[in-house]
Amino acid sequence: MGLREKIADSQFYRDFVQRRATGALRSYYDVPAADPARPIMDTEFIVLDLETTGLDPKRDEIVSLGWVIIRQLGVDFSSCEHILVRPTKQLKESSVIVHRIFDSDVADAPNIKVALEHLLPQMAGRVLVAHHAPIELGFLGQACKQAFGARLQIPTVDTLVLGLRALHRQGKPFKSGALKLDSLRRSHNLPPFRAHNALSNAIAASGLFLAQVSKRDPKGTLELRRVLR
């Protein structure tokens, strides 16, 4: 982890952003962050995926969010949510091709602030899980800053990083593409999934996360800090 992330994850930074946060983000910070010393088994996770109009958080926007909660290392399907977000700018053709969300689909959707007001209470006290988390953190951070005056800090697990660490531990060479969500899932005997949207990706990542933890922590006593990015 680089210095930048260390700072971003520090209590000092949390105190700093908490003071500046308003609205839903303020309430989010009122709930203490998940304790890195707790066993993973007793920690709650929110597995999240989002779709965007591009890859640059500063210029591009979130168009959909999907998430599911993990409790006691079980994916709770009753907690599944998928919401579309109305971007401020017109959708670009290149992004529409990727996620097949059209302007007409998002015409009646809430704007990002309303979406975050719904999402942030779900994130409070939980640990974020995402496949290639910098995207999620970057976009959510940017959106929070614009909507609530401060960036988002949340303990995060990146399933891609866990996959990379596992491959390094095995010491075996691996092909490009081995760290893709679907490849990693296959390597853990998980069923193939159809990447329909943010929620299907979140559910796919949730299964992968369970598999990774079970390999890393057969006894179920591992502390959260051991899997954080």
């Binding site: 079980g74 399907f77 998928h82 005997n189 069923p191 329909h196 929620l199 559910i203 369970l210």
Partner: protein, 622 residues
């Protein structure tokens, strides 16, 4: 419902018994599920551990072992575990361990019971899983009850309608007549010293032995009674009672248990058309003088079998009845041979092996039989007589329809006509120096049953075989190895493994891959534990008491045997009804989904007990 959860719903729809639920219910299910992941080798549940969910395997596989570590089953994608816990207040019954990395969906206990309460088909599937499920499946099939068939499944005990009426041996004929009037019975049991049985008198005795002979009414009842009457045990089947009565031309049969009379049954108790037809067939055979005529009776066996199966007979009953006719035929041919050749020069016993020995014949049966003589036998002096006898009987049987099989395992073969001493030597050789190839062929002789002749000869041989086989680990290990050569047609993922190519392409061989593996298992456990029985059901019931197989294992195997056997018989009946000649080759598609599931269950029970067998006997290397 969102599209991602639809994927889970689709998965459920493809698997039994979720496929039985209405679409809207299945679609509401994913929201109630939790996914969990277990790496290979994880102990997911242990006996008595709290288990508040039904586990549905999405990917991977698990195995179930009972608290003693006995393997009960393997599960794969789409199958469920934790079922027992659902019916035991959330306490797991068995050990569940993942064999592969597995993703499972967990359905909470409450939702499970909601579904089970609302959808009987769902409840039915789970109410009894594994061996239990098979058993209840059988009950469901058997429940199509037929009054005419009661005799096949009802035990003598259940037929005893009223208390026994008996009279003391000191009473007079007049006393007896008055008692019969007062009690309105047609027969009395004569007892002495309390409840010890002296004999029986019937209204026919009053007519034949009193009135017709102008005997004094003051004479003692003992003067007209039939002493030591033929009797039957309460555990025997009603059918056996009827057969006994027909054969001996009697209408009353005392029921004795441990030497004490517990009741009486009469022909009136037993009138049932189906069984009568079998009994009449046996009776008819015993009066015919020509093999050709007997053949016309035996030609009706497929029809009889169809009646029996359609009326819901168990395979054990059907096998018993059909074999009875083979026995009657054999006995009659031996009587005819003796009439033609003169009385036998030395005592002999005619024995049946294989399916006739086990009383498990079906619509198609080959003959397996042999002859054993008293040790006074001399080949030079008596050889020709018995060769002629064997030729007459075996050729007759062949003509009648009990054809010669491969391997020449009949009394026609000189090798299988010998003195008790030589038989004993043969068995000694097979047991002490077992050779896998010859043993495989000779295993039909380990299912021997005397059909006709001097039975004590057989009893002596059997006693010795059983005691030798019991102690010989090498012999047992060879039997186990042979048994393993009969594969159950089930792949790792519980798919049927069909015959490939040839005349029976894509079919299951229900005899060699279904029935015989269980016959082998039962034989090994019986021989290893000194059990005399040869019928597979009887063997399995008897070995329950021994540690070589778990009680549950033996019960499951009994159910599996009944299920596979009855599936085979139904298949044959279907062919008979279509005017084809019956065989053992089944196309799985001709079964309902329900039957297929149960057939797989049955095969997996066999597979598991084959594996357990290797642990119990095989691979000892000693």
């Amino acid at each position: 419902m969102s599209i991602e959860l639809e994927e889970i719903a689709d998965f459920l729809k493809q698997h039994h018994p979720f496929d039985l639920l209405p679409d809207d219910v299945i679609e509401s299910l994913p929201k109630r599920l939790t996914a969990r992941y277990f790496r290979a080798g994880t102990k997911v549940l242990s006996p008595e551990e709290q288990c508040l969910n039904l586990y549905i395997i999405r990917t991977g596989g698990t195995e179930t072992r009972d608290p003693d570590g006995q393997l009960l089953g393997r599960l794969s994608e789409g199958e469920c575990f934790g079922v027992r816990a659902m019916f035991r207040n959330g306490r797991a019954a068995n050990n569940i361990t993942t064999l592969e990395d597995s993703l499972c969906y967990l359905l909470p206990e409450k939702d499970f019971h909601d579904l089970a309460g609302k959808y009987p088909q769902f409840n039915y599937f789970f109410a009894q899983m594994g061996g239990d499920r098979l058993r209840s499946g059988m009950q469901m099939i058997e429940s199509r009850d037929d009054d005419q068939l009661k005799l096949m499944s009802v035990k003598v005990e259940e037929l005893i309608a009223r208390d026994l009426v008996s009279i003391d041996a000191n009473a007079t004929i007049l006393d007896a007549g008055r008692l019969m009037c007062a009690e309105q019975v047609s027969c009395l049991l004569v007892t002495q010293n309390g409840d010890e049985i002296a004999g029986i008198i019937t209204d026919r005795d009053l007519r034949n032995r009193v009135i017709a002979e102008a005997r004094s009414y003051d004479a003692p009842v003992t003067s007209i009674m039939t002493a030591n009457p033929i009797s039957i045990h309460p555990d025997d089947y009603a059918f056996d009672a009827l057969l006994t009565m027909t054969r001996n031309n009697i209408r009353h049969l005392p029921v004795l248990k441990d030497g004490k009379a517990v009741g009486m049954i009469t022909t009136n108790n037993l009138l049932a058309r189906q069984s009568l037809s079998a009994v009449y067939m046996a009776g008819k055979i015993s009066k015919l003088n020509d093999p050709g005529d007997i053949a016309t009776v035996i030609a009706q066996v497929p029809e009889l079998l169809s009646h029996l199966i359609e009326a819901g007979a168990t395979s054990q009953n059907a096998g018993h009845i059909v074999t009875t006719l083979a026995d009657a035929t054999t006995t009659r041919l031996l009587q005819l041979a003796e009439a033609k050749l003169g009385p036998p020069p030395v005592p002999y016993v005619w024995m049946a092996g294989g399916s006739q020995g086990r009383q498990e014949q079906t619509a198609i049966s080959v003959q397996n039989n042999c002859l054993m003589f008293d040790d006074a036998y001399s080949p030079d002096a008596h050889g020709a007589y018995f060769k002629a006898l064997a030729d007459f009987v075996c050729d007759g049987l062949n003509e009648i329809g009990y054809v010669f099989g491969s391997g020449d395992m009949t009394a026609k073969n000189d090798q299988w006509r010998q003195s008790a001493e030589n038989w004993l030597n043969d068995f000694n050789k097979w047991i002490e120096q077992p050779d896998p190839t010859s043993l495989m062929q000779c295993c039909v002789w380990f299912d021997l049953r005397p059909v006709h002749g001097t039975t004590p000869l057989f009893d002596d041989l059997q006693r010795i075989i059983v005691s030798r086989a019991k102690d010989n680990r090498v012999f047992q290990a060879v039997l186990v190895n042979n048994a393993m050569s009969h594969h159950v047609p089930l792949g790792f993922f519980k798919n049927f493994v069909m015959i490939r190519g040839g005349e029976h392409d894509s079919k299951l061989d229900l005899k060699n891959n279904g029935v015989l593996p269980i016959v082998d298992l039962a034989r090994i456990h019986a021989l290893a534990n000194g059990v005399n029985e040869v019928n597979t059901f009887e063997r399995l019931r008897a070995v329950k008491a021994f540690p070589s197989i778990s009680k549950q294992g033996a019960s499951d195997l009994l159910d599996a045997f009944e299920f596979i056997s009855i599936t085979r018989l139904k298949h044959q009946v279907r062919q008979i009804r279509q005017g084809n000649s019956p065989d053992n080759f089944l196309q799985p598609e001709s079964l309902s989904a329900f039957e297929r599931t149960h057939l797989k269950d049955a095969f997996s029970v066999v597979k598991n007990l084959q594996s357990a067998l290797e642990g119990a006997f095989g691979k000892s290397g000693t």
